[in-house]
Amino acid sequence: MIEFHLDARSGVSPYLQLVRQVRQALRLGLLREGDQLPTVKDVVARLAINPNTVLKAYRELEHEGLIAARPGVGTFVTRTLSDASLAAHGHLRHELRRWLSRARQAGLDDESIEALFMTTFRAAAEEDIA
């Protein structure tokens, strides 16, 4: 079962943090089809957060078709996000490593690398939308 955590300083709203943690776990294969998610009561008792926050996160995941609530039983994963893409991770990570070492050789420090990645990532995302 997945265990949620919250980063109060991240600037990302708590409900979105929960949504992302489930998606992340699905992508990494930590959660699979049929796995149960913790109940709303369990999550709020652990994190000391508003129950509506958890309900909102679960509703969004349900809307995306990733989980389904079975009344009286619990909430279960209905789809996995890993399948084909997980197999590609190894190769992509290898390429990314090589890119990172080239960036370092070129004299970029951690912050510059992160900035370059994020600006490129955003620019590419914007081009995709346009």
């Binding site: 109060a8 600037g11 709020v44 008792a45 129950p51």
Partner: protein, 295 residues
């Protein structure tokens, strides 16, 4: 039954001084409401009126559709944990549970026993020797076992250490989820409010400065920085909450009903803590800040 709290120009006067004035609120049921403000702003007064412990001097109030002091049926619907979670020092934990069972028609004895055991309280211990955190847990247990629809808590964790505070909030949120409780709590710790509350009321100088759904408040408030300019020239629909100038730059925190398109401003998000602090600080020279209730 859709309203947790509905007040119209509610006020409470002690001799010449108004402890609470012109308080108009509409809070839907099922919410976890955070009431914040400096000491003496009127938080305890509002909570005591809502719990039926104090009679208002002006205006009207409905709690869960009824009048706070109207009778046993209303009192059974509302649980109240007073400031500093008081207990009868000479009585034991078990005595308090027996008292709760005698005084409350909907008392849930099994839930009370389970909670006491889970938080590790000794039923035979006199409450005068409990730590602040333990006493808060006892008060929460009594409040929850009463099985109210609304639990009102006045600064429940102001005097306890961070670990006990977190444990208290965990228990409170668990109860809120399990029994679909509405909660109205006052606190001066914005980080706690941010974590557990979905509705915020800011009280300053006996007046409601701002009230609304937390997500809506966060999405309607912005921090603007840009070349120095007179905030009086802002378009309609933008209400300045706080303003500061340097020689060349102006920084504003404002509430806007629609997105800000003026390219002169750099617009950024405002966290709940900054938002609350802006409302707590004295009104700016830029004119009357937003006083109306957000819906």
């Amino acid at each position: 039954m859709t309203t947790l709290l509905r007040t119209r120009e509610l006020g409470k006067r002690y001799r010449r001084r108004w402890a609470l004035r012109d308080c108009t609120l509409d809070i839907p049921a099922g919410r976890i409401v955070g009431l914040v403000g400096p000491n003496g702003a009127g938080k305890s007064t509002l909570l005591n009126i809502a719990a039926g412990q104090l009679a208002p001097s002006a205006g009207s109030i409905e709690v869960l559709g009824g009048h706070p002091a109207s009778g046993p049926a209303q009192l059974a619907k509302v649980g109240f944990v007073a400031q500093d979670t008081p207990a009868y020092a000479a009585l034991t934990v078990a005595d308090h549970l027996r008292l709760g069972a005698r005084l409350n028609p909907r008392w849930d004895a099994a839930a009370a026993r389970n909670r006491i055991e889970r938080v590790g309280l000794d039923p035979a211990q006199r409450t005068g020797t409990l730590s602040g955190g333990q006493r808060a847990q006892l008060a929460l247990t009594l409040g929850v076992a009463k099985r109210p629809e609304l639990l009102i808590l006045d600064e429940p964790v102001a005097a306890v250490d961070p670990l006990a505070r977190r444990e208290f909030l965990q228990g409170l949120m668990e109860a809120a989820a399990e029994y679909e409780l509405s909660v109205l709590l006052s606190s001066h710790l914005v980080t706690d409010v941010e974590r557990v509350c979905d509705y915020l009321v800011v009280l300053v100088d006996s007046h409601v400065r701002v009230a609304g759904d937390v997500d809506e408040l966060l999405s309607s408030h912005h921090r603007l920085t840009g070349p120095r300019r007179d905030p009086g020239t802002l378009p309609a629909g933008q209400h300045v909450v706080s303003v500061s100038h340097t020689e060349r730059q102006t920084t504003l925190l404002l509430r806007a009903e629609s997105p800000i398109h003026d390219p002169a401003w750099t617009v950024s998000r405002v966290g709940l803590e900054d938002l609350v602090l802006a409302y707590l600080s004295p009104p700016t020279a830029a004119g009357r800040p937003a006083l109306e209730v957000l819906r």
